[in-house]
Symmetry: C2
Subunit: 356 residues, 2 copies
């Protein structure tokens, strides 16, 4: 039976970059992958067409799919919407929550061909390869109570940072297993010297550790982790942390590579159903110009093949094809060196296709 993939281009550069990724997906189909690919609306595109960032139809089709490929959501035209439930981001958050995609994998990998793009010194980042495992369906993003209300004659805004043991345990297992399959080192990031929610986090990580004797578990406070990422990022192998800290640290880690346009991500549930998207955003400033880098989205297809479609060989073929276009010197504007002419989104997609 063929597997179902739902493509959600979203907003900004989303449509352009997913278009190139779908070409690769089609090439995989020609290479024997049995998939059905359909498209849907999410984010600002959902708001414009149906008044909501996550139309019922989109959610139903996402639930029925084996994997979702998402471009990006958001843009200035929806920034004035005050009701969080009606903003483009809610499309993304709603998919994560409704599909129970608690396990977010965000690699920060430095491509040797792009080493000079980093704002850090070459010796600090050469060979950088970190995997950030971020909890994605809990924590302060979804905690109740939340809101803005009147108290003692003034407004107060509040959110709740909350984790239950089972939520910590399941993301912990994802992270321990990831560390086991990689360099065997897991750093759990918390703020256990201040926040009770993260005291429990640390406790559960400690409790899991004996089940993974081959993994070396350490703990780090989030402020120190932010420093260490800048100071000596290669000390990390796998980092596991909650939703909010993961949002911040994974972006910082991605930026260490200097080429966030290269970085894919995966968000998985217990059944390995997954949503795959580039780490970067919708980049409204360059949308529609055909200059965006499609490689993060193409590499997200590779992650999809590996984690949701059990096709690791095809995943490797895509990754090798990306490596080879970089070797050929092809660069979109975001990763271009001074003096070299950047290629278009489409030309980059075509080059990967040719190298596939």
């Amino acid at each position: 039976m063929s597997r179902k993939i739902l493509v959600l281009p979203g907003d900004g550069i989303g449509p352009e970059i997913t278009r190139e990724a779908v070409k690769i997906l089609n090439a995989c189909r020609e290479a024997g992958l049995d998939v059905d690919v359909e498209e849907g609306l999410v984010g600002g595109a959902g708001i414009d067409a149906h008044g909501v960032p996550l139309p019922d139809e989109t959610l139903a089709r996402a639930k029925a799919a084996d994997a979702v490929l998402l471009g990006a959501v958001g843009g200035p035209q929806w920034d004035k919407i005050e009701d969080l439930a009606k903003r483009p981001e809610k499309g993304l958050l709603g998919l994560r929550k409704n599909l129970n995609l608690f396990g977010n994998l965000r690699p920060a990998l430095l491509y040797p061909q792009l080493a000079s793009a980093s704002s850090l010194k070459p010796e600090i980042v050469a060979g950088l390869d970190i995997m950030i495992v971020r909890e994605l369906t809990g924590g302060i993003y979804f905690g109740q109570p939340r809101g803005i209300e009147e108290r003692d004659g003034e407004k107060v805004g509040f959110n709740t940072y909350i984790y239950a043991e089972h939520e910590i345990e399941r993301i912990g297992r994802v992270a321990f297993e990831m560390a086991r399959a990689r360099g065997g080192k897991l750093c759990s990031v918390d703020k256990a010297n201040v926040l009770e929610a993260t005291i429990l986090w640390r406790e559960v990580m400690e409790r899991l550790a004996p089940e993974y004797p081959d993994v070396e578990l350490s703990h780090m406070y989030v402020d120190n982790a932010a420093m260490q990422l800048v100071r000596a990022p290669k000390q990390f192998d796998v980092i596991v942390t909650g939703n909010m800290f993961g949002d911040i640290l994974s972006d910082a880690a991605a930026m260490l590579t200097g080429s966030i346009g290269m970085l894919p991500s995966a968000s998985l549930n217990e059944q390995r159903q997954g949503m795959y998207e580039p780490c970067h955003g919708s980049a409204p400033d360059i949308a529609g110009q055909g200059v965006a880098n499609p490689l993060a989205t193409i590499l997200s297809v590779a992650m999809m093949l590996r984690y949701s479609l059990e096709a690791p060989q095809l995943a490797e073929r895509i990754e090798r094809a990306v490596g080879s276009v970089l070797d050929q010197g092809l660069r979109t504007a975001d990763i271009a060196f001074e003096g070299t002419a950047p290629v278009s989104t489409q030309a980059m997609g075509d080059a990967v296709l040719a190298a596939f």
Copy 2:
């Protein structure tokens, strides 16, 4: 009437570095500053002597002081204490809260003499001069309810991220005024696309803006701010943010300079009573060896003179003295170049004294 200064050496390297800073304070006294200097216990030192991180006597003396000079708190021997109320950090948090020190100023300044210590490329950080204004007595650090309890047969840990309008407004004013006195640019960092508490934050910052027409206010999501600090930190002048985000971003910003042993901080209340401390921690691994860098603590004395003791000339003399020992090539181990012999904590303090 002479002003009162309470020195709280605390733990780890705290006693060594405050000792050098007190020498400078005494030199200021000889130069005409009318101050009384006394010492007290806080953090692990408070726990060891009185069983609590913030002894009543320390709190009473801190309240009666015009300014507090703090070394650092914490260490592995107290890390196993599970009750947050009994941990060394509680000494620090209790002082901040009880003295109402809501305005935390954390400069990230690159000393030209130390430019090569940064892990970032010289062109990215040369001339870096950011001031982070962090709210210090509210947000998730102090929000209620908080705790760990049993629900539906498992433990849950929870904290509350909460801000009231008046709390946002007063830190906003500190930040706008700081921006006015510096480069005229203020970036407010929030997560207003996800968290209601920070929607209110953004609203209040917007409301204040018309009162400061000479300051250019912008907003940035915290994940993007973490990226931009790595990518192009010189785009920032003053950053204002809440307690948690400020903890993370100020450490990342400090590390951009490569010499966190150089960075002081101030925490002020509405009466300009203040607590002054280095940005770095208690560094238990090098405690008692006489190798720690006392300059951040010495520069904290300069901030104290400027913000709490109305003695800006003396503050400048200290800052110039620090610049001159750096020019002389003196370096403690943390900022030493390969091939140069580091000086001791005491030798560094004496050198600043000689240059004062």
